[in-house]
């Protein structure tokens, strides 16, 4: 009788494909990479940053120098984006304008966050009277026409009281003081939800103090939406600065604000369209890039988008 072939004992040790350990940020980054339009935005923003950094140490011509060539000169080899109505090199001023854009955008996002995050955390965490007072101010602030207030702030702080010289800083302050409510309200909502979560309860039971809970548990878990909100605050601030400068109420001449450059070239559109086209294209690309990135980040931080 033929002997049956020995049967190998079953391998009882099961092998599992262990999921890669992922933090909130690495998980978001992985999803962001899949979003091509967000990546395009990221690349544009990277170029913007690099251009801004280069402009600190070098531009083809000083951004303030007039008469480097004939006024209204169209793009040429020597001046790839042409010259403006004062004979200034537009490429140099676009590069200088990139730095202004970054300063205003990032600066405003930081100040808005510095105001909005603490207020939102406190309102959501403590609820009750604290929430009532903070929410009251948020609602009051929402009722005020922000653009008008910002214009008045710029005028009062710089021109009337001479507290802050007319420049990037006063624009950032004016914008931030009128736009902090979005972040505050968002963080308040996050804080309200997170304070009831088990891990917060557990930490509280373990004797953690309020400050510890807010800083170590609630804030980190609200970070994703905050980053998204801050990303959307950047283009809003950039547009605000450009708008003010277009109206002649923003940065003083000869600061190369893209809004002011567009205003300078506006009247000469008939015969020198390059003067207005260059800053408006740069501004549009920047705004779109930040919005694309913001949308991408929102999707990336949204657990429901996890596939």
């Amino acid at each position: 009788m033929a002997q049956a072939a020995p049967v190998a004992p079953p391998d009882l040790e099961l092998t599992y494909e262990m999921p890669e350990q992922a933090t909130l940020l690495s998980d978001a980054w992985r999803r962001l990479r899949r979003n091509r339009i967000a990546l395009v935005g990221t690349v544009i923003i990277a170029i913007l940053f690099i251009t801004a950094l280069i402009s600190i140490v070098w531009t083809p011509y000083p951004v303030w120098l007039q008469a480097v060539g004939p006024t209204y000169q169209p793009p040429s080899g020597a001046h790839p984006l042409g010259l403006d109505q004062a004979g200034r090199d537009i490429l140099s001023r676009i590069m200088g304008g990139a730095l202004i854009t970054i300063e205003v955008g990032i600066g405003s996002a930081i100040i808005v966050s510095l105001i909005g995050i603490p207020l939102g955390l406190l309102a959501g965490f403590y609820r009750g009277k604290v929430d009532t007072v903070i929410s009251f101010f948020i609602n009051i602030w929402y009722g005020i026409p922000d653009l008008l207030v910002a214009l008045i702030l710029v005028f009062v702080l710089s021109d009337a009281l001479h507290l802050i010289p007319r420049g990037v800083f006063v624009i950032i302050i004016a914008f931030s003081l009128t736009r902090w409510m979005d972040v505050a309200r968002l963080v308040r909502g996050q804080s309200l939800a997170l304070r009831e979560r088990e891990f917060v309860e557990a930490a509280r039971m373990a004797g953690a103090r309020d400050f510890y809970l807010l800083v170590r548990h609630i804030f980190p878990n609200a970070l994703g939406p905050i980053i998204v909100q801050a990303t959307f605050a950047i283009p809003a601030a950039v547009l605000f600065e450009a708008f003010l400068s277009f109206l002649g109420l923003g940065l003083p001449s000869p600061t190369p604000s893209w809004g002011a450059m567009a205003a300078d070239g506006y009247h000469g559109m008939d015969f020198a369209p390059h003067i207005v086209l260059a800053p408006t294209i740069a501004l549009s690309l920047t705004l779109m890039a930040f919005n694309w990135l913001g949308d991408g980040l929102r999707d990336a931080f949204d657990p429901r988008m996890r596939r």
Partner: protein
């Protein structure tokens, strides 16, 4: 011969040839056939400000209403003062204090009322009592102060001799007063009409076409505030022909682009009358296009723009308005003033800030504008040349690097002032290494602060009211001059002004020029540019233009067939 003149000559010649050809070469024919519609139309950015001569001060209003009102004298195309209602120059007493005026007897208001000496005395007393911006025209007349203060209604210096002659006695000799008598404040208004409409000092009559009665060639026929105003020639005007124009229509269009669009579609005869200008970019476009350039006319205007330096050396020194010291003040600041003036390439400034020279020309002959009495001559200002090396040397000697930290140049908000400031900032940074900030102020705040000599360095300009140097020195450069802004004080200049003002211009012009030279030698002003008045008109609209102070009379314009 200017390009415009060449074009006009060619156009006339071509027109003549065409007419001859059309007539088959037989017989003659008018080379310029008038169009059936002789409506002269042009736009303005803002509405007329003042319709009453006693209140007027804006060039816009004066340019319009010099066609409606007139006085004893007027300025001709060369700015010479010539009799209008007067029969000739006034008879001046030996002590230079009493002026006797004799009037034409055939002068009538547009309503047919005869013009008599009572009307002039009434008009002048009224203007002194109203205290408009230019009431000071009558300041030299005896009794002016009492009328100005409301203590009297009539200047004691004005005396009726008969219906067609009267005299004016001055407190002190004032050689410039004869020139001032030709200004709008001295125009005659119809006493009967004004009093019938209300109080003597009321201005209601002036805005109503039915009662806005003057002695000019045109009268107002319709007016809708902030929209339009119409005029028509006065029938049987006492002075003779009123020209070809049968109607003048002025529209208020705030947007200069919209104005030009309507002009280009034939909606306006011209743009530029009543001290209007074109959008700077449009002027460049017109000036750079050979076809469009034929429609553009650039005339010198009586305005100088300069860098104002603050001469305050401390509280109350040298002027009562001084509050503190300034780096550009006095002898210590002279090197700085010279350096800052020499560091400006005025060719570049004119190219950039004046839209390739279409809005102004460089100022090289002192502060009084080229073409006016008192002008020093081309290239007579040694500090109005560009000399970077010398500017840097003077700047070093002065110790400018420490004295110009946080330097702010202030101007009243306007596109032109901004362009000038931006260019100065660029040039001073490139040529002297000075980083200067341009700061714009609203007009009222700027003038208020400048009057108190609050700015270390600032924009200043002056548009001449009349062609007499006294208009510049008394208002700008004598101690505590009302419009100076620099708190400049020079006792020698004050004394010279006093002496010159007392004499007729024929005897004082050299003194005024010496005074102008003193300003140049001391670099009191960093003279930058002289003004240009722009006109754009269709080729078939003839007679458009003006002199340094005024537009051509509407009666000089005619519209050809087109």
């Amino acid at each position: 011969m200017t390009r415009f003149s060449v074009f006009r000559s060619l156009a006339v010649a071509l027109g003549a040839i065409s007419t001859v050809a059309a007539c088959g070469g037989g017989g003659g024919g008018a080379s310029e056939q008038l169009a059936a519609d002789q409506t002269l139309s042009f736009p303005m950015v803002d509405d007329i400000g003042d319709l009453d001569p006693a209140h007027m001060s804006a060039a816009v209003d004066i340019d319009i209403f010099r066609n409606v009102y007139s006085g004893l004298y007027r300025f001709d195309d060369q700015l010479n003062e010539v009799p209008d209602i007067a029969t000739g120059a006034p008879k001046i007493s030996d002590d230079q204090k009493t002026y006797t005026f004799t009037m034409r007897k055939d002068v009538k208001f547009s309503n047919g009322d005869p013009v008599k000496s009572d009307d002039f005395i009434f008009s002048w007393n009224r203007a002194a009592a109203i205290q408009g911006d230019y009431a000071s025209v009558f300041q030299p007349v005896a009794g002016y102060d009492d009328v100005a203060n409301g203590k009297a209604t009539e200047m004691t210096g004005l005396k009726k001799i008969d219906d067609y002659s009267f005299s004016a006695t001055l407190t002190d000799p004032a050689g410039y007063w004869y020139t001032e008598v030709a200004l709008w404040t001295a125009w005659v208004v119809d006493k009967k009409v004004v009093l019938a409409a209300g109080k003597a000092t009321s201005s209601d009559w002036a805005s109503n076409p039915a009662t806005a009665i003057g002695t000019g060639m045109f009268h107002m026929t319709a007016r809708t505030a902030k929209q339009s105003t119409d005029f028509a020639p006065v029938a049987n005007w006492w002075g003779g022909s009123t020209g070809a124009i049968t109607k003048v229509h002025i529209e208020i269009i705030a947007d200069q682009k919209a104005q030009l669009t309507k002009y280009e579609s034939g909606g306006y005869s011209l743009i530029g009358f009543a001290n209007q200008s074109l959008d700077p970019d449009d002027v460049v476009r017109y000036n750079s296009d050979p076809q469009l350039k034929k429609q553009l006319q650039l005339n010198p205007s009586a305005r100088t723009t300069w860098i104002g330096f603050n001469f305050c050396e401390g509280a109350g020194k040298p002027s009562k308005n001084c509050a503190g010291s300034n780096p550009f003040a006095g002898d210590a600041g002279k090197l700085g003033r010279e350096a800052f003036s020499l560091a400006v390439d005025r060719d570049q400034l004119v190219d950039i800030a004046c839209s390739k020279g279409t809005a102004c020309t460089k100022a090289t002959g002192g502060v009084i504008t080229k073409g006016l009495k008192g002008y020093l001559g081309d290239n007579t200002d040694p500090w109005a040349v560009f000399d970077k090396a010398k500017a840097q040397s003077l700047f070093q000697q002065w110790g400018g690097a420490d004295k110009t930290k946080n330097l702010v140049y202030t101007y009243n908000t306007s596109g032109f002032n901004k362009a000038v400031c931006d260019n100065l900032a660029s040039q001073w940074q490139a040529n002297l290494g000075v980083k200067m900030q341009c700061t714009a102020q609203d007009r009222a705040s700027f003038f208020k602060a400048r009057t108190k000599c609050s700015y270390p360095i600032f924009r200043h300009s002056w548009g001449a009211d009349y062609d007499h140097p006294q208009d510049w020195f008394d208002f700008l450069f004598v101690t505590d001059a009302g419009s100076g802004g620099a708190c400049y004080s020079n006792s020698q200049l004050d004394q010279m002004a006093k002496t010159a003002n007392a004499k007729p211009l024929s005897q004082s012009l050299d003194t005024y020029k010496q005074m102008n030279k003193i300003l140049v030698d001391n670099t009191v002003t960093g003279n930058l540019v002289y003004g240009v008045q722009q006109y754009v008109s269709h080729p078939y609209v003839k007679g458009v233009g003006g002199n340094a102070l005024y537009d051509n009379y509407w009666a000089d314009v005619k519209i050809l067939q087109h």
